[in-house]
Every structure is written in C-alpha cells, then in structure tokens.
C-alpha cells in the first residue's frame, strides 16, 4: 500500500503493463526522454527502452493511425494525446477506422488500443487545454470511454483498459493528476469496465458524475448534509460506454430525484443521455425534473475566467436543493 497521486498511479499501471505484457508499447509526444508533459511516463523509457516507449512527432492523426497498424502485427499500443484538445486531429482515424475495424472484418482485424487523453479545466492552462469532449467519443459506436476520478480507480481502470480487446478512449481528469493522494495497493489491481460505483449512500437525491467533477460533488454532498440535512447518494460512473444503467436506476428509483454533473457542454452531452435512460426505464419513479450541472454551451473561456464556468460545489448544492424542494 502506498499513498499515490493519480499521476503516480497511472505511471504504476503503465509500468505494470509494460512488465506483464511484452506486446505493449507506449507512444506519444514527449513520453520518452521528457517522461510526458505531466510526467505520467516517468522512468519508463529508462527502464523499458526506446522500442517500448516511443517519442512521437507532432502528428496526432499518426499516433492513432500508426497504432492501428501496430495492432494488426500483434502489438498493443497505449497512445498518449498530450491534451484531449489535440485528439481531434486524429478524429477521422478513430471514427473511420479504430471504431470500425472489428465490425468491418467481423473480428479478424481489431484495434485493442488505449488512447489516453488528459481532459478538462482547472490547471490555468492556455486555450485548447481545458475542454471536455467525452460525449463525442461516447457517441461513436465501437469505442469504450473510461474516465477515472481518483488514483486507485485510475490505476485499476487503466489496467483493465489495456487488457480490453476493444479500443478504449481513456479520459484523464488532468486537474486530478496531483490534486490528492489515495492508498493504492501494491499488488496489481484491475476493475471491470462498465461498472459504476456508489461512492456514498443516501436517500434524498442521487448525484451522478464522473472524473474531475466528482470532487465538487463530494464537497457538495458534505455541504448538503451539514447545512441542509440532505443525504445525497453519489454515483461515480467511471465509464460512459458501457454505461452502468443498473446502478443508476437502482439509485434513482430509491431517491426519485437526480442531478447529473459534468464539465462538458450540455447540449447532447452525457447528462442528456443519462436523463434519457432514466426516462426510459424509471420515469414513474421521478419526483422532480432532473437537473444538469454542466459546462455551458459555450467555448471554454481562457483560464482567467474559467473557474465560474466550471461545475463547483455551490452549483451542485443549488441544483440538488432545487430538485429536493421541487
């Protein structure tokens, strides 16, 4: 057991993968000599060599595009996009090929790769370094979309994603990389992709979120409890595809009230999907409209203004109280 940041926990998962599976390979900009701009690949070039940890030129379409070919030769690429904001350069390779090869060839040629992308705001970074676009990946059939929220699940989910036979978009909340530490077991640990976690039980309102937004959600739950005697049940989705609707329904059927929280813009975002599923499966249990605490449908402001544009505890508390007092 060690107290690790998410950055260290991800590094641990990568190290384990390189150790356990000789077919794995890490590729991305500055992942080798520089050990990643967020130091997620610390010591890996040194310990595994330049054939396993590859410094890539500034060509995102190629990072994922070449990874497809590596897969066909039996290599398991773990790609890093330096920031999710540059992952769009490879959007066509992901949509046109990575998400489709299994279906196209009826399982003969597949793309069991992981594409790690740091996403989200909160680190006072320049433009294009702060948005959240997980919904666009979740909308593309054939991709899994996994989003950890803390050191321990980050490590376990990254291991599971690397082991997965299908392409996984692994969205890392960069604001959490070094924000806090958690006990992470020494022994390798994995988690099933597609299972949400009830991180706090409660009966008054269900609050559903994932990734970086889990922190304000936890803060809000404390405030709801302390100031308003409200018991919120908190669900950490951990993956958007597959989405664990069973856990969602069980909770919403219990509380009858729900708030969904994410940084991504609202329109056609993950919260919309969650609400649609709740309507389909549990409408009769709903005692109030479901509130969305999300990014606005705006271009993310430059960092000097970003704070009030993000979900925070205050917004979650306002929404939860509105739902409860409906």
């Amino acid at each position: 057991m060690a107290q690790l940041t998410m950055a260290k926990a991800l590094n641990l998962a990568l190290r384990e993968a390189l150790q356990e599976d000789p077919t794995t390979l890490i590729m991305g900009q500055d992942v080798g000599q520089d050990e990643g701009v967020f130091r997620i690949t610390e010591n890996l070039l040194k310990d595994f060599g330049a054939d396993r940890v590859v410094d890539f030129p500034v060509a995102e379409s190629s990072i994922v595009g070449l990874a497809i070919g590596l897969c066909f030769t039996g290599i398991k690429p773990i790609c890093e996009m330096q920031f999710s904001g540059f992952g769009y350069h490879g959007f066509h390779q992901i949509e046109n090929h990575i998400s489709r090869f299994r279906n196209r060839t009826r399982g003969r040629l597949t793309c069991p790769m992981v594409v790690r992308m740091p996403y989200g705001a909160g680190i006072r970074a320049i433009e294009h370094h702060s948005e959240s676009r997980e919904a666009i990946w979740a909308h593309l059939p054939g991709l899994k979309v996994v989003i950890p929220s803390g050191p321990r699940n980050a490590r376990a989910l990254l291991k599971a994603s690397i082991a997965d036979p299908d392409p996984v978009i692994f969205y890392e909340p960069k604001a959490c990389y070094r924000a806090f530490k958690e006990e992470v077991p020494d022994a390798p640990e994995s988690m099933e992709i597609g299972k949400a976690q009830v991180v706090r039980e409660g009966s008054d309102v269900t609050i559903i979120s994932y990734g970086a937004s889990m922190r304000p959600v936890l803060e809000a739950a404390d405030e709801l409890k302390d100031e308003y005697q409200l018991d919120a049940e908190l669900i950490d989705l951990l993956s958007l595809v597959p989405l664990d609707t069973e856990t969602i329904m069980a909770s919403v059927r219990k509380t009858g009230r729900c708030v969904v929280v994410h940084e991504a813009p609202r329109n056609c975002g993950p919260a919309a999907e969650i609400i649609a599923r709740i309507v389909e499966e549990s409408l009769e249990f709903l005692e109030a409209p479901i509130e969305r605490v999300t990014g606005y449908d705006l271009v993310m402001p430059f960092f000097n203004l970003e704070r009030p544009y993000l979900p925070d505890a205050t917004k979650v508390v306002l929404a939860a109280r509105k739902v409860v007092n409906y």
Binding site: P57, S62, L66, L70, F72, N103, T105, D166, P242, T245
Partner: protein, 380 residues
C-alpha cells in the same frame, strides 16, 4: 557568405523496362520464372475480366456502385508479386488485381461491392487489409504495420497503395514522415492514374512529379511506368530489398491511367476528353504484357484462349456463390465489441422485436418493400 545551392542527398529517378511495342531493356529486366510469368499473365487477365463483369453486374443492378480499375492492373499486381505471403498488403480501393493475387476469392470482392462486410473480411491467416474508403487514411496504418514488423523483427515488409489524389491528404504526409523517421519497411505505391474523380493531376499539386514528394521525408523517389509490370516488379523488388535490410520506406509513383469511370456513379465525359483516353489505349498494360509473354513463348495463343475461358467460368461460379450469400442481420450487433455490452443486448432485443413485427418484411421510406425472409432464418 554568398547565396548557395544546397546539394540534396535524395534524388528522383524514372524507370521503364517494357515499352508498349514489347521492347525490353535487357539490363533491367527482372528475373521471373516462366511459371510465374504465366501466373502473372493469368492474374492480370483475371483482373481485367473481373472488372468487365463487375461493370455488367452493376448495370444489371446486381451490385451497388462499382469502381473499376481498368488499365491499372500492372501497377497493382507488380508490387504484390514482389512480396511474400507473410508480408503485408494494404490496398486503397483500386487494387482488385493485387487482392486476387493475394488469394482473396472472387466472391468476396463481389460481395464487398454488394454491400457486405463479408467482402471486407480477410481470408484465414492473410496478412491483408480490406479496401479502404477514406482516401489516404490507409497510409497511416500501413506505416504502423510496417513499423510493427520492424519492432517484431519478423522480417516482414508492407506494400501499400494510395491514389494521386490521396497525396493531397494530411494522412499521406504524416504517415510517410513517420514511416521514414521510424525506418519502417514500407513500400508505398502511388497509383497516379492522372485523376481524382474529376480533378486532374495538375490541379492536385503544383509539383512536377509525385515521386519527388519522397524528398520531403528524406527518401529517394521513383517514378515508374505503371503500365509496365516488369518495371513495377523491378522497382518494388529493389525497395523491398532495401526495406528488409533496414533501409526504410520507399515511395514509388506508378504512372498509369484510369481508363474507365471513377465509379459507375460518375460520367467522365464531363471533365475529360476522349482524345486523352485514346492516347492511353496503346499503353495498355495487359496488351503489353501479352507481347512479352508471347514473345518469350511462355503463353501461346491457345494457352491464352483456354485461360480466358477458365477465367470467365471462375467468375461466373463466383457470381453464383456470391448471389447465394445471405447476410446474418444480427452480425452488426455481434461484432461491434468483442463482448456485447448491456445496452446493445437491449437494443438487440428491440431489433429482434422489430424484425418479428415485420414478419420478415420491412417497408422503406420510398415505398419499396424489401424482403427480409433471408434475415428471419437467423432469428432463432
């Protein structure tokens, strides 16, 4: 510090061996066994006849839109002849000659154009990728495959194809730049058939040749007579040799011509002259290769007649098999992921209920009933 010219390490060369009158440059003529010459000639003939038959099937409405490769048989066949079964073949969409050579049954090709994933499914153990629709995107995975061979140290190389139009895409540039950096054993054939649908070669890039784009990646460029199978084999062999020895990728511009339509949805009369097409007719790769094998005595007139007949029969039989193929309508659910997740299981239930409700028939927005009887047998 006078202004000075930089001497480039890279050069661009032109290669042609067998001309349209059957003359051969003996110094460059590649060694090919008589048996192989016969097989190659048969393969080229098959590709030509297959194309012709597909155009007919399309006119009869028995397949969808079809994109023929008439006139480009040598450019596509030569390169794959120069590699081994275990090497990789990465096509664009105008390489039926190469695909058939690699052992894909004719029915698969027909079924691809008939709208079936079965036609995109490589045969067992094949190191082949299916047709790629998004122009030039295959250059990227081709580079990845070649790089993978190098990392795996399995001695393999990849031969990939792209069109002249495809060189305008960013994927071409990134893929080749990366292949060169990583020393990937990749041979990229640019099938310069002079047109990207209606856009002539001159309007695709202001560069004098496509081969010279190699210089951008620190590579030598080769411009080869793409209607000359001997030159294509010679050039590819040289590139494969170098690649296997760790010499990295090569770009080969195969200068050829798209004799037919872009696809059957297209009317080339709108944008090019009959004169231009006529100019290319005497350069036919099949006619030229015939002069060669005939002169060598490797294939006689009689052999050829027999070959033609066999080929037509093979194609006919393949069409029959293809037309008996009934897709399993549930397969898209089965192959989206390795394991079907819950949401798809539910959607599958919904889909089955729908199929059941239609009793095997569904109506379309334009009022054409479509028989789903073939599907319903898969429901149980």
């Amino acid at each position: 510090m006078p202004r000075k010219k930089i001497e480039l390490e890279n050069i661009v060369e032109n290669i042609s061996i067998l001309d349209q009158d059957g003359n051969v440059d003996k110094a460059l003529e590649p060694k090919i066994s008589n048996d192989d010459l016969r097989r190659l000639f048969r393969a080229m003939t098959l590709a030509r006849r297959y194309d012709e038959r597909m155009l007919k099937l399309q006119r009869q409405g028995r397949i969808g839109t079809y994109g023929p490769a008439l006139g480009q048989e040598a450019a596509s066949l030569g390169p794959v002849y120069a590699i081994n079964k275990d090497d990789w073949f990465v096509p664009s969409f105008r390489e039926p000659a190469a695909t058939l050579w690699r052992g894909w049954p004719i029915d698969k090709l027909i079924l691809w154009w008939g709208g079936n994933e079965f036609g995109a499914t490589p045969p067992d153990g094949a190191h082949d990728v299916p047709i790629c629709v998004p122009v030039a995107s295959q250059v990227q995975y081709a580079a990845g495959i070649a790089w993978g061979c190098k990392l795996k140290k399995n001695g393999g190389v990849a031969v990939a194809f792209v069109g002249d139009g495809g060189t305008s895409e960013g994927d071409f540039h990134e893929g080749m730049n990366c292949a060169a950096i990583f020393g990937a054993p990749l041979i990229l054939i640019i099938q310069n058939n002079q047109w990207a649908i209606s856009l002539p070669r001159k309007k695709q890039t202001a560069s004098q040749t496509l081969a010279q784009k190699a210089i951008s990646y620190g590579l030598n460029g080769l411009q080869v007579d793409g209607n000359d199978i001997l030159a294509m084999i010679y050039a590819t062999r040289e590139a494969v040799d170098r690649a296997r020895k760790g010499g990295g990728p090569t770009i080969i511009e195969a200068v050829t011509y798209r004799m037919g339509v872009h696809t059957t949805a297209d009317d080339p009369k709108k944008y090019r002259t009959e004169d231009e097409v006529d100019c290319w007719k005497p350069k036919c790769p099949l006619a030229r290769f015939w002069l060669y094998v005939k002169a060598k005595g490797v294939v006689t007139e009689k052999d050829r007649e027999k070959m033609e007949e066999e080929i037509q029969n093979d194609i006919t039989a393949a069409i029959e098999r293809a037309e008996q193929y009934a897709p399993n309508p549930l397969e898209p659910f089965e192959h989206c992921f390795a394991e079907m997740p819950l949401h798809l299981k539910r959607q599958l239930k919904e889909f089955k209920a729908y199929l059941a409700a239609t009793n095997g028939e569904t109506s379309s927005a334009d009022g054409n009933p479509e028989n789903l009887a073939g599907y319903s047998k898969h429901l149980h």
